[in-house]
């Protein structure tokens, strides 16, 4: 008993010694300023000195001033880690665990920097977490652009935690891996509230973790988006630290900022925390585009080991279709028109039957994702195909879908740009300066971007007129999307466009230059030839308002348009002719012809020439564009 007491007091005093030792070392050696400590807690440098962590949940900090004081937080962390009896209550009050179980990354880091082992504590939940994840390596995943959902128009990125190979057969099963994402918690379905909260950063954001198969089913299959997977070169210790940090951050809460501190930013911050020599977030622009972050990672020395492509259901179908013989292809095209099974495979050889039924399944999956997932409508019809295929027996040959390297996001040009140029307009001369915050237009080189779409957000064009020394804002495009959805045997979808802008011009019944606000849109049909020529027929509608218009302050009208676009490698051309009849406004007829050509010199430089004629007002301009 005495012995026990002695041992007990010895332990206590050695612990006390350790506490004193560690905390004094922490302050003399300034561990609180250590970059890895700052990054593990996601501290940001304040403009006027000091640090603030964006984590909002008070339980994330052990010291009352921890949010703004890394050194005090470190001291509180040291004493909590040395005292396993001290319990920390989780956010929902469900769990009451030692600091070592709540903050395993802090513990790992402290052990590393001090060279000292900290008391080991059983952590049932955290150990279970590691047991389920079996973390071996990491992959950064980019989910490609999805114009049909405005929330995904810029793509999305997340991290995949890769398991070790299966003990059974030594194979890797990626579907059993886990994906870690950072996302906004949706608090409202109302787009106005949603937008306001998102832009102002008032929406909460949290880390989430799901089996990778959810992501594959959602992106590849349901939304038909390609996934690009970048295997990262992290050591086992770094992976361990990242996973531990994820565990800590899962229970923290942040404010989600659409433009900067979004899905991609927080994931990069995680990677930086594990390897202090990495600088991933420092040079990021004020808006973080998911695709740009892929480029940032790719440019790091020896960080990306391998790139894999995981095809969308549409790409899978296309490959299956191309492998068919001409007779079977005709069957599939007919099937897409009639959706009748009876003529699909009758009279074909067994192998041809298999291939044709396989293609028909994928066709229905990409054409009717919602009905099929909900086991309604087309699903009931698809059942017959599945049954016919199963009854044929025999395994289909594994399918390899070739990666469309031209669309890979890591090698794309920057999503922002500057422009300098000269314009002649209605016999006036202007020098031009313009800037675009994002993303990609129909004349930019296709590489790494959606090949048939334009997304512009935040583009501003300023002009200087040397004759009257006037500086003016010529055009502010808040938002412009043009989605050319080429029609083929399997896609009957419409092309569409939408624009919100403020513009200046001589046309529109202004006596001199005047400025108006415009909201316009359109719907059309596009047909593609040789992959690079897109011809479209449109029905467009335009609404414009300005106090400068003669007579009515409103112009509202609609009419047809035709457009042609050629875009291959370094050369692109876009031409459009639009006739509009205004039922409200000064002039009733409005004709506009535009032509633009783009010569891409390299990834960061283009020369662009454009001309426009609008109701006999002519404009011609030349610009040099710099992408970054």
């Amino acid at each position: 008993m005495k012995m026990g007491l002695l041992l007990f007091s010895l332990t206590i005093s050695s612990l006390a010694l350790a506490t004193g030792d560690l905390s004094s070392r922490a302050s003399t050696e300034k561990w609180g300023d250590n970059i890895q400590w700052l990054r593990l807690l996601q501290y940001d440098k304040n403009t006027f000195g000091g640090y603030t962590s964006p984590a909002e949940n008070p339980a994330f900090f052990l010291h009352p001033e921890g949010k703004t004081n890394p050194a005090l937080e470190l001291q509180a962390t040291i004493s909590a880690l040395l005292d396993p009896e001290k319990k920390i209550k989780s956010k929902d009050g469900q769990f009451n665990e030692s600091a070592a179980c709540v903050f395993p990354a802090r513990k790992l880091w402290l052990e590393k920097i001090s060279g000292q082992k900290l008391p080991s504590v059983p952590c049932e939940r955290y150990e279970r977490f590691i047991e389920i994840l079996q973390p071996q390596s990491l992959t950064y995943v980019f989910s490609s652009y999805y114009l049909n959902n405005p929330a995904s128009a810029f793509g999305h990125t997340f991290l995949r935690i890769n398991k070790s190979a299966s003990a059974r057969d030594g194979e890797r099963y990626e579907l059993s891996d886990y994906g870690v994402g950072y996302a906004a918690v949706k608090v409202s379905d109302n787009p106005f509230i949603y937008s306001f909260l998102g832009v102002s950063g008032l929406m909460p954001g949290t880390f989430d973790i799901n089996p990778y198969y959810y992501k594959v089913r959602e992106y590849n299959d349901f939304e038909s988006r390609d996934l690009w997977e970048y295997d990262l070169n992290f050591t086992p210790e770094e992976v361990q630290l990242i996973v531990a940090n994820i565990w800590e951050l899962i229970s923290a809460e942040f404010n989600y900022h659409y433009f900067k501190e979004n899905c991609s930013y927080r994931i990069l911050a995680l990677l930086e925390a594990a390897r202090p020599s990495l600088e991933l977030t420092k040079d990021l622009k004020s808006q973080v585009m998911p695709a740009d972050t892929v480029g940032t990672l790719y440019q790091q020395k020896d960080l990306v080991k391998n790139i894999h492509y995981r095809p969308s259901i549409r790409a899978t179908f296309d490959t299956r279709y191309k492998k068919l013989g001409p007779a079977e292809q005709e069957r599939i095209r007919q099937f897409a028109r009639t959706e009748s099974l009876s003529q699909l495979v009758a009279g074909l050889e067994t192998q041809q039957k298999r291939d044709t039924l396989d293609a028909a399944m994928d066709y229905l999956d990409f054409r009717y994702p919602k009905e099929i997932l909900r086991k309604q409508g087309a699903y009931l019809f698809k059942k017959d195909i599945l049954l016919a295929r199963a009854e044929l027996g025999g395994a289909s040959e594994p399918l390899t879908v070739p990666a469309p390297w031209n669309e890979a996001p890591h090698d794309a040009q920057g999503s922002r740009r500057w422009g300098l140029g000269y314009r002649e307009w209605n016999s006036d001369r202007f020098y031009l300066l313009d800037t675009k915050l994002s993303l990609h237009d129909l004349l930019d080189p296709k590489k790494g971007y959606p090949p048939t779409a334009e997304i512009t957000m935040g583009a501003f064009s300023f002009s200087f007129n040397p004759d009257n020394e006037e500086i003016a804002l010529d055009k502010a495009t808040v938002y412009e999307v043009i989605s050319l959805a080429p029609v083929d045997a399997f896609n009957q979808g419409f092309s569409w466009r939408l624009k919100v802008s403020v513009e200046r011009g001589y046309e529109n019944g202004c006596t001199t230059l005047c400025r108006w606000t415009e909201l316009s849109g359109g719907s059309g049909i596009t047909k593609s030839y040789w992959n690079d020529l897109d011809l479209s027929l449109w029905l467009r509608a335009t609404g414009q308002t300005s106090p400068d218009f003669i007579g009515d302050t409103w112009k509202i009208g609609a009419g047809p348009a035709v457009s042609a676009r050629w875009n291959r490698d370094w050369f692109a051309l876009f031409a459009e002719s639009y006739y509009r009849y205004d039922y409200k406004g000064f002039e009733h007829e409005y004709r506009q012809n535009t032509l633009g050509v783009n010569f891409s010199v390299n990834k960061s430089l283009s020369l662009r020439l454009s001309g426009e004629e609008t109701n006999s007002v002519q404009r011609g301009e030349a610009r040099l564009l710099y992408y970054y």
């Binding site: 379905d189 106005f192 832009v199 989430d208 299959d221 659409y258 919602k370 059942k383 909201l519």
Partner: protein, 149 residues
């Protein structure tokens, strides 16, 4: 001003945000077993969010739940997890079974401890597994007992 508000709304909805899943378990398949939930439609389909994955809420809770308070047991792939894999991957898995091959099917085999011979078994039993009113995952798990033997 009006046009500005409209513009702001469009602007806001167009940026890169992935709406996280809510805490609801009101999916088409209901909440599956103990662990990984099911593919769930949000209350409102359409522009903002078409599909969301939920794990009886969030990942944290899953790990909380699987560590003792549920019926899942300790096994990494307890029966309930196989069930939710089958349900969450139902479209792809059904395709694979009909084709007698595929990534989703081999992942399932790995979970069940089966080898590729099981592909043929499932293909031959396709009609029974996916007959109306049959609990497909239960049927698959029952058939998988042959793998252990």
């Amino acid at each position: 001003m009006k046009s500005f508000i409209v513009a702001l709304a469009v602007l806001g909805s167009a940026v890169s945000v992935q709406a996280a899943s809510g805490l609801k378990g009101n999916g088409v398949y209901g909440v599956a077993g103990c662990g990984l939930g099911s593919l769930v439609f949000g209350n409102e389909e359409g522009a903002m969010q078409v599909i969301a994955a939920t794990l009886n809420g969030t990942g944290v809770q899953t790990f909380g739940i699987t560590s003792g308070t549920s019926n899942c047991g300790k096994g990494l792939f307890a029966k309930a997890e196989v069930n939710s894999f089958i349900e969450s991957n139902s479209v792809a898995l059904e395709n694979d079974i009909a084709r007698g091959q595929g990534e989703t099917l081999s992942t399932l085999n790995n979970m069940l401890g089966c080898d590729s011979k099981f592909n043929g078994t499932l293909q031959q039993n396709y009609k029974e597994i996916y007959a109306p009113g049959v609990n497909s995952s239960e049927k698959i798990v029952t058939l998988a007992q042959s793998c252990q033997g």
